[in-house]
């Protein structure tokens, strides 16, 4: 049991060390030449446009459910007109960034881990190095930058669609006037909330893509290994998103809301 524990701790520490090394190499690769612009554009399209449908659907139904649930609760206090305030504050500060990131962890994180994992087990990563290309610059940097840029944009889309979803329920089911809903949405938001909603997705995007790349590049064990890596990437990225969201929220609260 003790030996198993030591081996587990050792392998966990090695994973952390390799993850940090990959992040360092990625940071270096992002600011030095050569830079693969074409790959960056391709990845922005894959991560951004490719995830748009799932993010829109997530945002829409989350906003709708929020309005529905909070409408029932607010009714107890006769505060139904304030439903927009609740939807906007919850979507922009918390649920929008986290749910978008979790959806991206499932779609983008798994895709990256599977793609890089397949390349690793078929020696394509070694082939890249043999051909004089740094795999971190060619494969990791464009994906990480694309995730860093596209996650906040997708979160903004999810938030907007979420507010629209809330509006649909507020107007057609809760019978709240449209103007009242939107003024309530604006009243419920402070500039600090908007900052929080903008800052978080940058970091969550980084977590999703770096974890996907790290797990993918360390894949071994053939097709079975690729499957294992894909699962691990989704689980690790999802847990990472929730943990980073918690610590970021604490940090931002202490800085922006003194």
């Amino acid at each position: 049991m003790q030996q198993w524990l030591i081996a587990w701790i050792k392998s966990a520490l090695i994973e952390v060390q390799e993850y940090v090394k990959l992040c360092q190499a990625t940071a270096r690769g992002a600011v030095t030449r050569p830079f693969y612009w074409r790959d960056l554009v391709t990845q922005m399209e894959i991560i951004g446009l490719g995830s748009l449908t799932v993010v829109i659907l997530t945002g829409l139904f989350t906003g709708a459910v929020l309005a529905l649930q909070s409408g029932v609760t607010l009714d107890q206090f006769g505060a139904r007109p304030y439903v927009g305030r609740l939807v906007s504050a919850t979507m922009v500060k918390a649920l929008g960034p986290v749910l978008t990131a979790l959806m991206l962890a499932g779609r983008v994180g798994s895709g990256i881990a599977a793609e890089l994992g397949s390349m690793a087990v078929t020696d394509q990563i070694h082939a890249l190095r043999a051909l004089g290309t740094d795999p971190v610059r060619k494969l990791v940097v464009p994906r990480v930058l694309a995730g860093f840029i596209m996650t906040p944009l997708l979160t903004a889309v999810a938030n907007t669609v979420g507010l629209i979803g809330g509006w649909v329920i507020a107007v057609f089911q809760l019978r709240v006037a449209s103007g009242l809903y939107w003024s309530s949405v604006v009243e419920g938001l402070y500039i600090e909330d908007v900052y929080m909603g903008i800052i978080k997705p940058f970091f969550l995007g980084l977590v999703i893509v770096t974890v996907g790349c790290h797990v993918g590049l360390r894949t071994s064990g053939g097709t079975q290994g690729v499957g294992r890596s894909t699962t691990n990437a989704v689980v690790a990225a999802s847990v990472g998103v929730l943990a980073v969201d918690f610590f970021l929220t604490r940090l931002i609260l202490s800085v922006l809301y003194p």
């Binding site: 397949s118 078929t122 020696d123 394509q124 070694h126 043999a130 051909l131 004089g132 060619k138």
Partner: protein
């Protein structure tokens, strides 16, 4: 101290005046508890064929990865093109790899690129050559391996033998002086394997590319050692003269140790029970 002298017994006395293109000196490597190489020493002379034989897991492929700097040894020294690759930084290794090509098991072609994209990958990505010149070089390489009509095909549309030959063309794009073949004929039928063997011989004799071939297919190993390519005026493969056959050096690995090093004839005459069993 020159590389030839540091190679010690690994370099042959007859070639003492010629610098080896690659040298391994007392190289050790282990992955966790598993020892992969135990004190491996040998030299690769320019223009000569080095054939690494051995059962699966004997450390053959690892030697190629060490030679290319894809792995680092735990101990020992490795020179390739006169440079110490075991201590070299990845950044410098990327430049050194311009002179060394590698053909991986199964080809390791990039799935998302066409045959032309794979062959021209390095030219497109790492050079500023004009488009027309890159296209001309790709067509020349595909013509050399007899696959010039496959330019726009995807790797998934190719047979196993075609994939290996495209991998050879890709490795040749930068005109390397040393080409490493990792099990180039494994999984191929005998006739298709011969087409891959022929490419290795043609590149060695007509393009001055020194081959290091890892294989456990004895038939292919002896074919490569025993043939030479000539132009008269078309390219033809003929049985090699004895002095040419003697230039092919066979290395047999067993559990990470070299148990035999010599010519094809010496290997055939070996009396060691393990070698006899391997040859049978």
């Amino acid at each position: 101290m020159t590389i030839a002298s540091t190679a010690g017994e690994a370099a042959r006395p007859a070639a003492a005046t010629v610098e080896p293109i690659a040298v391994f000196e007392d190289v050790h490597l282990a992955f966790d508890e598993k020892v992969v190489l135990r004190g491996v020493s040998f030299a690769v002379m320019p223009g000569h064929t080095k054939i690494l034989l051995g059962a699966s897991g004997s450390g053959k492929s690892t030697i190629l990865k060490l030679m290319l700097g894809l792995l680092k040894p735990d101990a020992g020294r490795i020179w390739v093109h006169g440079e110490r690759v075991d201590t070299m930084r990845e950044r410098d290794l990327l430049a050194l790899r311009d002179q060394t090509g590698m053909v991986f098991q199964e080809g390791a072609l990039f799935d998302s690129l066409t045959v032309g994209g794979n062959v021209g990958y390095k030219l497109y990505g790492e050079t500023d050559l004009p488009e027309e010149e890159i296209q001309r070089r790709i067509e020349e390489l595909l013509g050399f391996i007899g696959l010039d009509e496959y330019l726009e095909r995807m790797p998934s549309e190719l047979s196993g033998g075609q994939r290996r030959r495209v991998a050879i063309a890709r490795a040749m794009a930068f005109k390397p002086k040393l080409l490493l073949y990792d099990e180039p004929t494994t999984g191929l039928d005998p006739l298709t394997a011969l087409t891959v063997d022929a490419e290795i011989v043609k590149l060695r004799d007509l393009e001055d590319v020194t081959p290091v071939v890892v294989t456990h297919q004895l038939r292919d190993a002896f074919y490569i050692a025993g043939h030479q390519a000539i132009r008269d005026p078309g390219v033809r493969l003929v049985p090699a003269p004895p002095e040419k056959v003697a230039e092919a050096d066979f290395v047999m690995l067993r559990e990470g140790k070299i148990v035999f090093e010599g010519s094809a004839d010496e290997l055939r005459c070996a009396s060691d029970p393990y070698l006899r069993e391997f040859l049978s």
